[in-house]
Amino acid sequence: MKKTLNFCKTKLLFTAFLLTNIALIAQSNQEISGKITSSTDNAPIPGVNVIVVGTSNGTTTDFDGNYQINAPEGSKISFSFLGFVTKTISVSNQTTLNISLEEDSNELDEVVVVGYGARKKSDITGSVSSVKSEELNAFPVADASQALQGRAAGVVVQSNNGGEPGAPISIKIRGNTSISASSSPLVVVDGFVGGTMPQAADIQSMEVLKDASATAIYGSRGSNGVILVTTKKGRQGKITVELNSSYSVQNTANKLDLLNAEDFVTYQQQIRTNNGNNTPYNDSGFDTDWQDLIYRTGNTQNHTLSFSGGTAKSNFYASGNYYKQDGVLINSGFEKATFLSNLDAQVTSKLKLGLNLYGSKSTKKGVATQSTGANGVGGGGDDAISLAMRFDPTKDITDTDGNFSTNDQIGDPVDNPYAVASQRTDNTKEDEFRANAYLEYEIIEDLTFKTTFGLSTRNTMQGIYVPSTLIVSASAVSGRASVENWKRSTALTENYLTYNKEIGKGKLTALAGFSYQRNLTERSLAQGTGFISDSFLYYGLESSTGFLQPESQYTEVEIQSVFGRLNYDLNDKYLITATVRRDGASNFSENYKYATFPSAALGWKISNEEFLKENKTISNLKLRASYGLTGNPSIAAYQSLALLSTLYASSEGETVPAVTAEQPANENLKWETSYQTNIGVDFGFLNNNINLSVDYYTIDTKDLILPNSGIPAYAGYLNDEILGNLGEINNSGFEISINTRNISNENFRWTTDFNISANKSKVLKLVNDADFFDDGTPSYFSHDRSTIMRVGEEVGLFWGLEYAGVKNGATPDGMAGRTGTTVDGDPLFVDIDGDGAITDEDRTIIGNPNADFNWGFTNNFVYKDFDLNIFFQGSSGGEIMNLTNVQLTNGDSNTTQDYFNNAWTPTNTNTDQPRVGNNSNREISSRFVEDGSYIRLKNIALGYNLPRNVYEKIGIENIRLAVSAQNLLTFTKYSGLDPEVNFFGSAGNNNQSTNTVNGFDFGNYPTVKSVTFSLNLKF
């Protein structure tokens, strides 16, 4: 059974009410009752809206489809429910009205939320994907964005740190349209721009706006697409109480096959022998599996209790959610409590008020993963995951003194992974609150004014304590603590007029508005070293004896905008949409304060033309085309101003104030602009049992902000990246969605949803068209170029040496070994410049992390009270740079069984793995590039609705039990832990690295497999 889109309902109610409020005449009422059933299976339909047309008098059917309403004779009653054709019946003198509603097979009358309004799906001219509540709640997620993965064509969703509880989720719509600025879409929650995602259980629907026709109304923030989130609202009728509870058990999806202690010592001795080093490796005498030590069985519980209901004049929805996850990595976890409420009140016939409230509180217990190598510990010893792969297995957790053991014979000293995972405290506590009130007033017929005013605040505190028990990282300084606070707040008001009018054979909708937004960010960081006791954690900083510089910052951004949209539908055949937004923003540079973003779109409902109207096969055919401009604000606050920077300096042993030049003014810096074209076609076949949408798009993003490599370091500014609007990239691709109703009868229904998308991001212009490099390796790898942007190529290709196998005898022509003497067993590389040596000139493009296709495939089966959902998700054609193997074959680590067994030796010469101890310098070469394609059984769920007679008497409306499994199966050739990789190099997960550093695998929190049991109760 489909759920009502609440927006639709309120709108219907409201419209009906508006159109007929003149016709209010006192008449004698009579009580009418009846039962509403589905014409397909005669099953009762609960929740149908029953309204006396032209009045505010209405009700909804109960669970058995029964209703009762008072209606005057001669009036009309309308029966509406999403997914069914609305029926309007004139009341004569009958007291019973049993209605059979026909299923609306084409779903096209569904209303889709668009920016500052809603449109019938069939009237949409842009490219919009809707994701429904059921899909978002198929399995428990900490962040509703995660549930989007595989659900909407052209939308790629990825955790920024594997299965880490509370990890940030990155969403990219139609690829990245920027290099240095964010490529994340704008999220709008119930009209609040930049709101955070509510819990999945509270979301009625998500609309993903993909083309300029849909996003240009968001102007300078529309380039990366827009996700409109609509939360649930109450509806008229009795109060519904619903409880959703689930419990999941989780394990790591995978472990690496590494050497045991004995093989490890042999391996290290071999390395030393090969290097002519006669220092013997000291076997510490234990055999520790560090991976086993840091992982455990994790679990997640997720509970939502909601109340909703309403009268003819008001409705409410209120819910509370509790989510708690104990991660599979010891000491990691995430806990969040969320409240949400939506109130709407029809104050007078013309005035409507509403309030949306959201509050949440969360705590993330973090464990250091994804080492950037920059966390104050040499050799990347700050990351439990990669340490567990690297660390000496002959060591015990503690040494003979009872101290945690350290890696002291190879590479830089590092703490052991168990110590890092268990000893460090890293808590992030976040409180969030958002209130958004609206007032809607019908000024004259067809013209309404809506104003919203909202405030949101998000306060985050991250406390980190590294105790003195961590020998390498903190014992010398007797503990290291930091407390970082972020306070982010937004005030937003949106004010707009909407005008609806039928003009001749056409329908006109016009929108005009003004908006003002102010975002404040304040940050402070206090830190210190040297504590009396580890028990202080990061509290009691005043007792620190080692000084670390405190920091604090303030930024303010103001945005004011005007916007408008015109829709004209002629004859229900020809659709025209035009939008424009003009944004002014304080963060824009002095000479470019205001930006204008127009768009236009055309739609042609061919199936409404005479020649197709009666066609039995084609039930729907619509062509859509749009073109428009959208922007990416891309300039941070104060980034275009001339600034001095304050520095630490020491004089006569005292810390003294110091300044130097930070950056010169950059008065001409502009936002980035995307020129987007979208062409789409929607097909419906066989009474819309098969729906197919195909979209083609091309997005040229110009004025990309890049550091002008024309600014030499000798200019001496502290900020060596002086920016200009210097780049251009093009994204083009297609998206196909197919929804089919394969079988639908009384007892059995089978539906299939499939979506697939292909995106190519191509670099068109760079600074002087010179190659632009970035790096995806941790800093202790000592590389600075491992990805490349090159004009004419795809974005973020791997850059390194072309591996040519192992030297075995004379070095073949065209190849060479690394600098220095090369002996048999050493790796060879293609000597591209032919100078007989491997130098920087021999680096080349060695791989492409960008997937050719991303897809999702869902099958739903309903048999009587059972339902089964099988959801596959996949990606193909992308490559992975396996940095884990780079580190594990470097010699200063444990290694894989595979490398140990297959490395070149004088007796094992037929191999492509170089000898151990070949002094690889963590070389980035094609040897470590692997195919990252995968197919994943993302979710399989079996649900059962208990027979109603079991619990009907105790007032329960519905009980549903389900068991499901997530990530149960993954098919991939990738040799690492998981093909969904997300390591961003030494810079960490920032705007630029998420655009240019893709496909690197190192030290991610592992992806987890889980089994979930869930219960749904409705009262």
């Binding site: 007033y441 080692g546 670390l548 004011q560 304060k593």
Partner: protein, 510 residues
């Protein structure tokens, strides 16, 4: 009408939102109007000085690069950028060059801001204050010109990026002229002495002028620069503001150095783990793996060879001060023949550099990082040796011999020190090194090598005296360096990114 009230209210709300969109940052400074008093100048001068203490400059990258390039320090780790330095195969992409190049120019730019800012000030003491900026600018350019020769030479902050993009390299001779002129201004305006060696003084300016002229003289016999070098050096000697410390160990003891009469110019480290790596990591770079000292021991990266150690006389106190010959490793006292008991792959059975790890003073990070050791950039012993070298070259071997013997006499005094195993010792007065009857240029250079061992001076001496063919041959202390090429290796390549940014710059062959 009721409805208009609402509309008015809404219009009102909208107007409240109107704004001029001008940014008003808090907590940052704009350059316009910043310089109001000479105190503001001092703030920018500190901004210039702090670039030098950074890990990217003296804190590690430059100091280690200079050690590795010399003939006295081997590389134990395998990091490519360090291999390139050690083996003299340095490429324009070298990750050490790129960092200290940037820091040098950041220091220069801060000095340029101060110098520019002083123009509009009327404070009576402005010249005395801003003279430090001239000194610092010369300090950075002197490092750059010795390493790169012709370089971009800027004496004003860059305001027009496009103009800055097209400048050509300034020939080394002109850079030297600029350095000399800056140091002359500094010498004329700075106080004769200052509260601390890390605050530039007229004496420091004179001493640097002596070294600059000596460097510019190079190997040119009878160069008038030798005479000028001698004049400046003797000016300092004759003023008598500096003298040799009676205990050679005090020069490498963070807690004793500040009271020593010997440092002429030093960098100021105060044991703070400052942001942007504005602290030093030299002690662990040169330290022994598994060493029980300094909370985590050393990293065994820059390590002398056995031949270097053998070239020191065991009866010379400076040998004890310059080398750690024993250590406690994992609680076991071992001599250098057993340093590999740590089991570490980079451990080496050889004496280690002791001038950094032995007395780092207070330090804020494990392994002796972020110390409070004010490293001498110029000390009186070096000044004497500059004077000696210049004197020999100008034909006054007698005066030169006197200066060299002063240095040797101090070494004979011995003194209190401790071993690498933290055992307090006293080195009794010795007969070694004996006074020399007369000195040649080679004698002075050899004295520099011993006296200033591991103080990052040796490479510059090799370069200015063109000693490469001799010291990097098979008979050198490190054996033959594979990459040595006398035609290109006295200068390092300029970072490739700079050449890419401005093709008008000239690249050195490499």
């Amino acid at each position: 009408m009721k409805k208009y009230k609402y509309i008015l209210l809404l219009v009102g709300l909208s107007i409240v939102g109107c704004t001029d969109l001008v940014e008003k940052p808090l907590g940052t400074l704009a350059p316009d109007g910043f310089f109001q008093t000479s105190q503001d100048l001092q703030t920018a001068i500190e901004g210039s000085k702090t670039a030098a203490i950074n890990e990217k400059f003296w804190g590690r990258k430059l100091s280690i690069a200079l050690m590795l390039r010399s003939d006295m320090v081997n590389l134990q780790s395998t990091q490519e950028r360090r291999v390139e330095m050690d083996q003299l195969t340095t490429l324009p992409t070298n990750g050490m060059i790129s960092e200290y190049w940037i820091k040098s120019y950041q220091g220069i730019t801060a000095a340029n801001f101060a110098i520019k800012g002083a123009e509009s000030l009327t404070d009576a003491n402005k010249d005395e204050v801003v003279a430090q900026a001239y000194f610092m600018r010369a300090f950075y350019y002197f490092h750059l010109v010795r390493q790169f020769g012709a370089i971009p030479y800027l004496t004003e902050p860059v305001s027009d990026i496009d103009a800055a993009l097209t400048i050509s390299s300034t020939p080394a001779s002109d850079v030297y002229a600029g350095i000399i002129s800056d140091l002359e201004f500094a010498e004329a305006n700075l106080p004769a002495t200052t509260n601390a060696a890390s605050i530039p003084s007229a004496g420091a300016a004179s001493s640097y002028l002596a070294l600059v002229y000596l460097t510019r003289a190079g190997n040119t016999p009878n160069s008038p620069d030798f005479t000028t070098a001698l004049t400046y050096a003797q000016k300092v000697i004759n003023l008598g503001n500096y003298s040799l410390d009676t205990n050679f160990q005090n020069l490498f003891n963070a807690d004793a150095i500040d009271a020593s009469p010997e440092p002429i110019f030093a960098l100021d480290y105060n044991g703070v783990e400052a942001s942007d790596n504005a602290y030093d990591q030299i002690a662990p770079m040169a330290g022994i793996r598994g060493d029980d000292r300094n909370d985590g021991g050393g990293w065994s990266v820059a390590v002398p060879t056995e031949d270097v150690f053998a070239s020191f006389d065991p009866l010379d106190y400076r040998t004890e001060v310059s080398f750690d010959q024993e250590a406690n490793i994992g609680g076991v006292l071992v001599d250098y023949n057993n340093f590999t008991i740590s089991g570490h792959e980079h451990a080496r059975n050889t004496p280690y550099i002791a001038k950094y790890a032995r007395y780092p003073g207070f330090f804020a990070r494990g392994s002796g990082r972020a110390t409070s050791h004010n490293y001498s950039m110029m000390r009186y012993a070096e000044l004497l040796l500059i004077a000696a070298e210049a004197a020999v070259e100008t034909g006054d071997a007698g005066t030169a011999t006197g200066y060299v013997n002063q240095v040797r006499a101090r070494a004979r005094l011995g003194g209190d020190y401790k071993t690498g195993a933290d055992v307090p010792m006293t080195f009794a007065p010795s007969t070694v090194p004996a006074d020399l009857a007369t000195v040649t240029v080679d004698d002075v250079i050899e004295e520099r090598r011993i006296e200033l061992a591991f103080e990052c001076k040796r490479w510059y001496t090799i370069a200015r005296r063109q000693l490469g063919d001799q010291v990097f041959s098979a008979s050198g202390y490190e054996g033959a360096k594979v990459g040595w090429d006398a035609t290109v290796d006295y200068l390092m390549p300029i970072p490739n990114t700079e050449i890419e940014a401005n093709p008008n710059l000239s690249q050195n062959p490499y």
